[in-house]
């Protein structure tokens, strides 16, 4: 019985990691007053670019870096739309998602079925010997451990540093922040970009560690689950971890029964945000 629980939780940690990255990125972005429904797009871009890079160079580390950058670049399109052109955030985010899904399934087509050597499991000596928790938490790849660190770091960044204060102030009231001398637009651009980097990391974990393969639209709604978890976590990074481990799996399995490549209905999440 313990064995079953152990393997379920190990799986939950592993499959929750890409979603946790997406959630952390979205928490950061939404704290600055920007809703980015394009998380799915950044994530799939990250997955695709990371996989292609790794397949071409045999270097998963370079793959992760490129994937993260690609995710950040993709989300800068959203930044340009909503910050500079003042477009509707919901529409722009959805458009970004469709754009990325389309572009990646096009450029990724030759790589479907290609085998790569992805990121290998790195068992942490000592910590993995802890009964029960050791196997669940410390027999994963590096990106999972990085996610462990990211959540508390994000919390510290948002609530203990000056930049975090600026971000939260912009999210609460742009005019006040501007009057206090915060460069609102620069800050929003940066935050959207960094949020995209997080989504890209999530995508890279998905294609390089979790599945070690590339299929078009392989994120399969994980980006939207990340957006949903952001609200569940009430924009708090540490609660995001709980959500990613315990809720991501059930939310995703709901979409398993659908044809491959379809996503959770976006309308639900849009409704959440419009309220």
């Amino acid at each position: 019985m313990i064995g079953i629980i152990e393997s379920i939780l190990t799986g939950a940690v592993r499959s929750g990691t890409p979603i946790l990255y997406g959630t952390l990125g979205e928490i950061l972005t939404e704290r600055a007053g920007i809703v980015n429904l394009g998380v799915e797009g950044s994530m799939v871009t990250g997955a695709c670019v990371a996989f292609i890079t790794t397949a071409e160079t045999q270097d998963p580390v370079l793959g992760v870096i490129m994937g993260a950058l690609a995710g950040g670049l993709a989300s800068l399109i959203h930044a340009f739309m909503v910050v500079t052109l003042r477009a509707n955030q919901i529409a722009s985010g959805l458009a970004l998602m469709f754009l990325c899904l389309g572009v990646t399934s096009f450029i990724g087509r030759p790589y479907v079925g290609v085998r790569i050597t992805g990121i290998q499991t790195l068992t942490i000596p000592g910590l993995s010997d802890i009964p029960f928790l050791g196997r669940i938490m410390f027999e994963h790849d590096v990106l999972v451990y990085l996610a462990y660190l990211s959540a508390p770091l994000m919390w510290w960044f948002l609530f203990r540093t000056r930049w975090g204060l600026y971000i939260r102030a912009v999210g609460e009231n742009k005019l006040v922040a501007f009057a206090m001398g915060v460069r609102v637009q620069v800050l929003q651009y940066s935050v959207i970009g960094i949020g995209g980097v997080f989504s890209g990391l999530g995508g890279a974990h998905l294609s390089l560690a979790y599945t070690q393969s590339w299929v078009e639209a392989m994120t399969a709604g994980r980006g939207f689950v990340a957006v949903a978890l952001t609200i569940f976590a009430t924009w708090h990074p540490l609660r995001g971890v709980l959500g990613a481990v315990f809720l991501a799996q059930p939310l995703l399995s709901a979409s398993r029964f659908r044809p491959r490549g379809s996503m959770c209905p976006p309308t639900i999440f849009i409704c959440c945000h419009m309220c």
């Binding site: 203990r160 540093t161 000056r162 930049w163 204060l165 600026y166 939260r168 102030a169 609460e172 009231n173 005019l175 006040v176 922040a177 501007f178 009057a179 206090m180 001398g181 915060v182 460069r183």
Partner: protein, 506 residues
């Protein structure tokens, strides 16, 4: 003059269609409390926002201690030691006092040392009588406490020039006294204080020097001891610039039949406003009653209570002998009552619909154009063309969406629709605000036409010239009560100005 700590030279700023500031000169000495006095729209706030980098002047220069400074953003202003407390406080309610202050304190390391900052806040607060709890969230604080947080924040950012935009408008009398003490203490420590106000009494109580602005220009700068309240009121209001309308219509006698009666009416106001505090008056048939007052003293609430847009908590409102207290707006409009809103695009028309469609939006028009469910557009069009002609107006194509019309034409659409029902009472909110001279003149003529057709008019306006030109009587509101009802033919504008600002009654 070159010794002044802060000097503004020839500041000019225009917004589309409005010259907000025109060649303004102003100088402030170290440790001086300088009052900027003016009516709404005189350009006080614009000038201060330019100084704080919120707007940029079109021309003119700013000198601090004799050095030319270039202020483009609030950051620049803060760097020059200029800080501003806005009328609507610039605080984030969800943040604590510490966080709100940390937000403004630049270059203090990337980590926020909450504990250390809290101690410094307590020290500074004790020094200037600005007691607040640093850990408290701003939404938990009273308005007076929030203002203290704003002042603390300015002190923490190293501001030497403190700008206050109507600092007392939201405070209780006790808090006002507290604010005065803080301001005096700050000025004795060498801080320059610039405060915007339109309350004469506060100017006389607090200021060292006073600059009066009217319509974007400086009328005068004077030391407090050299002027009296009535001097200031005269400068504030000036002489009427609208030519008085000398038509036969204005000479028509007011009928003795009563149209509207207010019996000791109370109503709550918007947050921070006074609402109505026991208002009684009567309005005769064929009478134009002007309602004057500084914004936020109950004039808007008065009009809204008449129209049933705002509940009346106590008292009675009688229209033609019929008690209409707290009846629905639809019922009141059927009387018929005409409603000319302040900003027609917001509350008067549906911008995307055509002129024609907007003309028949009213429920009270439902008997005219409708046949059962189907609208007879031909008949409606004919009727409306007739009405437009009757008022001697020309309107562009009736099928154009209202949003494509000019401001003056939108106002005409509203006028035709509202006045066509031959109202017994017209309630107009700032009907000519933002209109050009020709459109204003036309509006005034329409009011007089409607008056000679038997309508009474409640004219709520901030434009004293307009009130003096049109009204049979002028009722002045102050702090939610009637400060006085005067006859414009025997009263000087500055006397009305005194009543508006809570000065001595004439």
């Amino acid at each position: 003059m070159n010794t002044a700590y802060l000097r503004l030279e020839n500041i000019t700023k225009s917004f589309p269609g409005v010259l907000a500031n025109s060649g303004i000169n102003l100088s402030v000495e170290k440790g001086e409390i300088h009052a900027l006095l003016g009516e709404n729209g005189a350009g006080k706030s614009t000038l201060m926002k330019i100084l704080y980098g919120y707007y940029q002047q079109d021309s003119g220069s700013i000198y601090i201690e004799g050095n030319l400074v270039d202020i483009r953003t609030p950051t620049d202003a803060m760097r020059c030691g200029i800080g501003m407390v806005f009328q609507n406080f610039m605080l984030i309610p969800a943040f604590s006092v510490i966080e709100n202050i940390a937000l403004a304190v630049q270059k203090q390391g990337q980590m926020i040392q909450s504990q250390e900052l809290a101690d410094r806040i307590r020290d500074t607060a004790a020094c200037y009588n600005l007691s607040v709890e640093p850990e408290a969230k701003v939404w938990e604080l009273s308005i007076g406490e929030q203002q203290r947080v704003e002042i603390l924040r300015l002190l923490f950012t190293g501001s030497r020039i403190l700008i206050f935009d109507e600092p007392t408008s939201v405070l209780t009398p006790q808090e006002v006294e507290g604010f005065f003490e803080i301001a005096r203490k700050l000025s004795s420590d060498g801080y320059c204080i610039l405060f915007i106000t339109h309350k004469l009494r506060e100017v006389m109580a607090l200021a060292d020097r006073i600059t009066v602005l009217r319509k974007g220009t400086v009328v005068n700068t004077a030391l407090r001891q050299d002027v009296t309240e009535s001097d200031l009121a005269y400068m504030l209001v000036g002489k009427p610039t609208i030519e008085s309308i000398e038509s036969d219509q204005l000479q028509e006698p007011v009928s003795q039949d009563v149209t509207l009666e207010f019996h000791d009416v109370f109503a709550s106001g918007e947050r921070g406003r006074s609402g109505l505090q026991g208002v009684s008056f009567t309005l005769q048939e064929r009478e134009i009653l002007g309602v004057a007052g500084v914004a936020g003293n109950g004039q808007t609430e008065l009009g809204e209570v008449v129209l049933g847009l705002r509940p009346c908590s106590q008292g009675r409102i009688v229209l033609h002998g019929q008690d209409l207290t707290n009846r629905s707006t639809a019922k009141i409009l059927e009387a018929p009552v005409a409603y000319i809103p302040e900003d027609p695009l917001q509350t008067g028309v549906a911008p995307g619909l055509s002129v024609l469609e907007n003309m028949v939006l009213h429920k009270r028009d439902s008997q005219r154009g409708w046949r059962g469910l189907v609208m007879d557009w031909k008949e409606i069009r004919a009727k409306i063309e007739l009405n437009v002609e009757r008022f001697g107006l020309t309107l562009p194509n009736l099928d154009r969406p209202v949003i494509t019309l000019s401001g003056g034409n939108i106002q005409r659409v509203v006028f035709v629709r509202e006045l066509a029902c031959q109202p017994r009472l017209t309630v107009a909110f700032h009907p000519t605000f933002g209109l050009d001279i020709a459109a204003t003149k036309l509006a005034h003529e329409l009011f007089l036409t409607s008056r000679s057709q038997g309508s009474a008019l409640l004219l709520i306006s901030e434009d004293l010239d307009e009130l003096f030109a049109l009204s049979d009587r002028i009722m002045v509101m102050h702090a939610g009560s009637v400060a006085g009802i005067v006859n414009p033919k025997t009263t000087q504008p500055f006397e009305v100005g005194l009543l508006m600002t809570g000065g001595a009654t004439t």
